[in-house]
């Protein structure tokens, strides 16, 4: 795609701008900022990826993945305000999932250990894990606050913090995993995944594109389960003190 053709795609930005202006939505500034940021960020990452792929250095691969994890942690931690040590808990979750998934992918020789695969798949894993972490923290804080009386009841009868929070934890883990499972049920029927479509447009064999897409889908399913379970079990103890009393989620 030439830069001129790319410039023509801005027509798709003009449409929401015009709609926002005519309907008085007040979203013009945000739309322009989002457009400019996406152009700068994606072009920058494109040049950086070019450099890293050419260098074939594991140090650069490591730095790229570390940067992804740092950005995901920074974004998700805003939803965990009030949880002691939320930053390291999120970092530990993302690092564990990244290590586990890459170990399986490379260890079983599912994909080659090259920058092209490691960085692309890490981006999907960490990005998806970040969204799941935000969904989980949102739901968990709501569940904990709305069921404080049940937590108090269980503690008052001699239950442990784990027993007091069990139901809220399970509900939140399930709720955060449901969107991933549901979207997989309709994939190919309602929507064609972006990665697969991109490969097909770029000229790849559709069957090969589907194979890679299946790999990504299974990877994301595993990421969804691991993120909410790991984060849940790291977070819940911080909602109680050493005397097994509930601490408000501020």
């Amino acid at each position: 795609m030439s830069y001129l053709t790319l410039a023509l795609t801005l027509v798709f930005v003009l449409i929401p701008l015009l709609l926002s202006k005519s309907l008085g939505l007040g979203l013009e500034k945000d739309t322009v900022i989002a457009t400019v940021r996406s152009i700068i960020q994606l072009l920058a990452v494109g040049y950086v990826l070019n450099f890293v792929f050419d260098s074939e250095s594991f140090l650069f691969i490591f730095l790229m993945v570390a940067l992804m994890i740092a950005a995901a942690t920074q974004n998700a931690r805003k939803k965990g305000t009030g949880i002691r040590g939320v930053t390291w808990k999120l970092t530990l979750t993302f690092v564990s999932i990244e290590l586990l998934t890459q170990s399986i992918l490379i260890g079983f020789n599912i994909v080659p250990a090259t920058a092209q695969y490691i960085i692309s798949l890490s981006g999907m894993v960490v990005g998806n894990s970040m969204v799941l972490a935000i969904l989980f923290l949102n739901r968990f804080s709501a569940e904990v606050e709305s069921n404080r009386d049940i937590g108090e009841l269980i503690l008052s009868l001699g239950g442990t913090p784990k027993q007091a929070i069990h139901q809220q934890l399970i509900t939140s883990i399930k709720a955060s995993m449901i969107p991933t499972i549901e979207s997989q049920k309709t994939i190919g029927l309602v929507q064609l995944p972006g990665m697969m479509s991109g490969q097909i447009i770029a000229g790849a064999d559709p069957i090969q594109a589907v194979q890679f897409q299946l790999l990504v889908l299974f990877l994301l399913l595993s990421t969804a389960a691991l993120t909410s379970v790991l984060l849940g079990f790291l977070v819940y103890p911080t909602l109680f003190n050493e005397r097994m009393q509930q601490i408000p989620w501020k």
């Binding site: 001699g158 097994m244 009393q245």
Partner: protein, 243 residues
């Protein structure tokens, strides 16, 4: 309190503060063992907070609480909370049947509650066997309070903390619950601390009385002190509650 009554719980200079607001201020006194102590006072006096301190759901900001002459923080929280059972004011119910709720204290210990044991717990509070399979979330306020009491009885606690447990009950049910608590006290020697807004009930059921106002204990002694309170604030409160 006469010298032969050893305390089930002893408070010494207890303060409880949350977000720099003093909820309890310099609370000292005893709850006699094997007796029923009524805890009365206007709303916001700190009565429920005091009960939660007894059960270890809260810890004092300063001061000390002793259970059978042992500092409360020397007990493991689950052990303490089974020893000092509490019936919560809002009677929260788990999703599920009445049986599921009665089985909760047993499940938390890794034990099972038989149907017969559950019926026995239920009947102690005046509820019939047919309630066992009822949906706990669909019970009336009074039924919830009864199930909540029956559930706490499952732990066979030595001390029972009751937070306005008869506030939603009709007169017959109030009598049934009062009879039950008096029987538990007499037969098992269970010490009871009973928050009530009903001063007549306080005088009827209790052996000892605490009056709290603005986070402080203003009077303790024989329940008959409500007939002619020495403290002016208490006199006004009694007059207000009885009018």
């Amino acid at each position: 309190m006469s010298s032969h009554q050893s305390p089930a719980l002893q408070f010494s200079n207890v303060h409880y503060t949350i977000d720099d607001i003093a909820i309890l201020h310099n609370v000292s006194g005893c709850f006699p063992k094997g007796k029923i102590t009524a805890l009365v006072g206007p709303s916001g006096a700190g009565k429920t907070t005091l009960l939660k301190l007894c059960n270890g759901l809260l810890s004092p900001t300063s001061g000390s609480i002793c259970v059978n002459s042992q500092p409360i923080d020397q007990f493991e929280p689950p052990q303490l909370r089974r020893h000092i059972g509490m019936v919560l004011q809002n009677s929260p119910m788990l999703k599920g049947s009445v049986y599921d709720n009665l089985a909760l204290p047993f499940r938390l210990k890794g034990e099972q509650l038989t149907k017969e044991e559950a019926v026995n717990l239920l009947e102690q509070t005046g509820l019939q066997r047919s309630f066992l399979e009822a949906d706990a979330l669909n019970l009336s306020g009074g039924q919830r309070q009864k199930v909540s009491i029956a559930r706490t009885l499952g732990n066979q606690s030595s001390v029972l903390l009751l937070d306005e447990i008869t506030s939603s009950l009709d007169r017959t049910s109030v009598q049934e619950i009062e009879t039950l608590i008096l029987r538990l006290n007499k037969d098992n020697g269970t010490s009871v601390i009973w928050i009530t807004h009903n001063l007549e009930q306080a005088m009827r059921v209790s052996d000892y009385l605490w009056v709290m106002m603005n986070g402080q204990v203003v009077e303790t002694g024989d329940p008959s002190l409500l007939d002619s309170p020495a403290n002016e604030q208490v006199a006004k409160f009694v007059k207000g509650e009885q009018s």
